[in-house]
């Protein structure tokens, strides 16, 4: 298998967009291609991650549409739908295409335009990933699953509403340093939890989760250019090597798991990615986790092996996961602050790691970051992809 590197990345601003899904994809793709500065080299294949274009935007075959709009003929092209893990899935496919020798240069773009529909429809759209007979028909949504999950974690590990709020405050603070982030709003413990007005400012969405415990519904696109590492060294001063990728699945219905608080797929995916990379959690400098709900940042940080089970909230409390802590988590703002256009998220996490490892993350730059880890969490943890990236200095 050939070594593979990221040589360029681009993003649109996440949030509410007035342009079409295709235009979002073009903007981030062109950004990534410019960043890669490929010269005479050509894109051999295009992978587009997206979850809902057929339903939300009445558009299918969007990878072909992107190739056409950018005149990337005759590149191979396909769309990848894998729920909220679509982004990392498309990335994995791009990686495999280069690693196998089928392609030398691959463009991976993740995109979603969710705000084309109202919030209720967007919530229902995301809920369509739940088990159709055991969950969805009973009105289960992602916030309700996360609410039940949070309650269990509170009872079992001592996670409190303050811990959840700490994640929200940290990630929205980080997002203020990220011009691509959807949420540009500083929040405080007083304003969202302790003041008498907090009950109005931050109402329950799915008890015990409140409004500020949930990621926003966003539009946006993110792109990466992958290249064989040996070729990348010819033109890219700072290739970011894809050191490890792991993927694992778990039961579709959450209640079928022996212990619903155990994110087995996260654990297995991370284990595989670390094994492939030859690194361990203690070697990682910067982390992007899938905090669609604040509890998930805490739970994933444990399941991926960064902290012992039940102690993620302690590390958070001690400041370990803050931007200047020993292990910064979600310097981009995460899904909570950067936003969560579902198909784009997995790619956006890797874009952030690439910027961090190249030293291009501006005000949110993690000092001396040389290795990064991302977890793209599909379904409610039933399909998870973990990635380890390493900076390759020329």
């Amino acid at each position: 298998m050939r070594q593979v590197a990221i040589v360029g990345c681009g993003m649109t601003k996440f949030g509410r967009s007035d342009v079409s899904l295709l235009e979002l994809m073009c903007e981030s793709s062109l950004g990534a291609l410019r960043h890669a500065d490929l010269g005479e080299r050509w894109v051999d294949a295009v992978y587009v991650a997206n979850m809902g274009a057929a339903r939300l935007n009445k558009q299918t075959a969007i990878a072909s549409a992107l190739v056409d709009r950018l005149s990337l003929f005759p590149a191979m092209a396909e769309s990848v739908e894998n729920g909220p893990a679509s982004g990392a899935s498309a990335f994995k496919n791009g990686f495999l295409a280069v690693a196998s020798g089928m392609a030398n240069v691959v463009l991976v773009t993740g995109a979603e335009k969710m705000r084309a529909v109202n919030n209720l429809e967007a919530t229902d759209f995301v809920a369509s990933l739940t088990h159709p007979e055991a969950e969805y028909i009973y009105g289960v949504t992602l916030p309700s699953l996360a609410g039940m999950f949070t309650r269990l974690c509170m009872e079992r590990f001592g996670v409190t509403a303050e811990h959840l709020a700490m994640v929200a405050i940290k990630n929205q603070e980080n997002a203020l340093k990220n011009p691509f982030a959807h949420i540009q709003q500083r929040i405080t413990m007083e304003g969202i939890l302790h003041a008498p007005e907090a009950v109005v400012n931050n109402p329950f969405v799915a008890d015990p989760l409140r409004l500020y415990d949930c990621c926003p519904v966003s539009d946006g696109a993110a792109s990466l250019v992958l290249c064989a590492l040996d070729l990348a060294r010819e033109f890219c001063p700072t290739p970011i090597r894809v050191a490890g990728i792991g993927q694992a699945t778990d039961t579709h219905a959450v209640h079928e798991r022996p212990d619903p608080t155990q994110l087995t797929a996260v654990h297995l995916a991370a284990e595989k990615a670390f094994s492939m990379s030859g690194l361990s959690p203690k070697d990682i400098d910067v982390v992007e986790l899938h905090d669609a709900f604040t509890i998930l940042e805490i739970a994933e940080s444990e399941a991926a092996g960064f902290f012992p089970r039940g102690e993620g909230h302690v590390a958070l409390e001690e400041g370990t996961t803050s931007l200047t802590g020993a292990l910064p988590i979600n310097p981009s703002g995460g899904l909570k602050g950067r936003g969560h256009p579902v198909g784009a998220t997995g790619v956006a996490q890797l874009v952030e790691l690439t910027w961090q490892l190249r030293g291009e993350a501006d005000a949110r730059q993690v000092k001396d970051a040389k290795s990064g880890f991302a977890c793209n969490f599909g379904g409610f943890g039933n399909n998870v992809i973990a990635t380890v990236l390493v900076r390759e200095d020329s």
């Binding site: 950004g31 709003q185 304003g191 008498p196 007005e197 009950v199 109005v200």
Partner: protein
């Protein structure tokens, strides 16, 4: 032929004595303190200056809300509308939002507009709630007639409270038939939607005495959503 003053008296509607809105302070999600207070007629010019740049902002129907609010406040300033009032939200003295309405007839309020100059943090929703508080709790009205001119307004008023349709009544703003907030609906919604504390510490109230206008850059970023760098 009447003299100028006599003619003005004919053009100017008679005013009803309306109890003032007691100022309150709301802690926002950001931890900032927003003072909500009623304005005097002499302060309208400052508000018009703040609203004017929004007359051409199509995003989220700012243009129509700004144009109508501008006209309503100008009419208030020039004594051409009866029993109008206006509340503002101020953060460190800087104008964050404006709401207005009027007492249509005894026991019936007429909600006009809600416009925020700083987005997020439920500033508009807090100010709208303060407006309803004024109508129901201070003026003692039994119901308030309301319409929305943007999807955001519809979600915030019609769905969140929720309001009832009052198809037989035409709201003064025209458009769709009116919706109504009754006293009962207001009281039921109050614990989850109406925030704020009284009395305001004098030093905090002092910061809200003079209305400061937000910087143009703030408006551009907050209202037009212009933040982000080219890739």
């Amino acid at each position: 032929m009447s003299t100028g003053n006599e003619l003005e008296a004919l053009l100017r509607p008679p005013a009803t004595e309306m109890p003032p809105y007691p100022p309150k302070v709301i802690t926002l999600a950001s931890g900032e303190q927003m003072v909500v207070r009623q304005i005097e007629r002499e302060e309208v010019s400052t508000l018009l200056e703040a609203i004017a740049p929004l007359l051409w902002v199509e995003r989220d129907f700012y243009d129509i809300v700004a144009a109508r609010l501008f006209a309503e406040l100008l009419a208030f300033k020039r004594y051409r509308v009866v029993d109008e009032y206006c509340l503002v939200g101020l953060i460190d003295g800087v104008l964050a939002g404006i709401v207005n309405g009027r007492e249509a007839r005894p026991e019936v309020g007429m909600s006009y507009h809600t416009l925020t100059l700083r987005r997020g943090l439920r500033i508009g929703a807090h100010l709208f709630a303060a407006k309803m508080e004024y109508h129901i709790e201070v003026l003692g009205e039994k119901e308030v007639l309301i319409v929305a001119e943007s999807p955001i307004g519809f979600r915030r008023w019609m769905i969140e409270y929720p309001l009832e349709k009052k198809s037989e009544v035409q709201h003064e703003l025209g458009g769709v038939p009116s919706w109504v907030l009754t006293r009962e609906t207001y009281l039921a919604a109050k614990p989850r939607l109406v925030a704020g504390r009284r009395p305001i510490p004098p030093e905090l109230l002092e910061t809200a005495r003079k209305i400061l206008l937000p910087e143009e850059e703030t408006l551009r970023v907050q209202i037009l959503g212009e933040r982000g760098r080219a890739t």
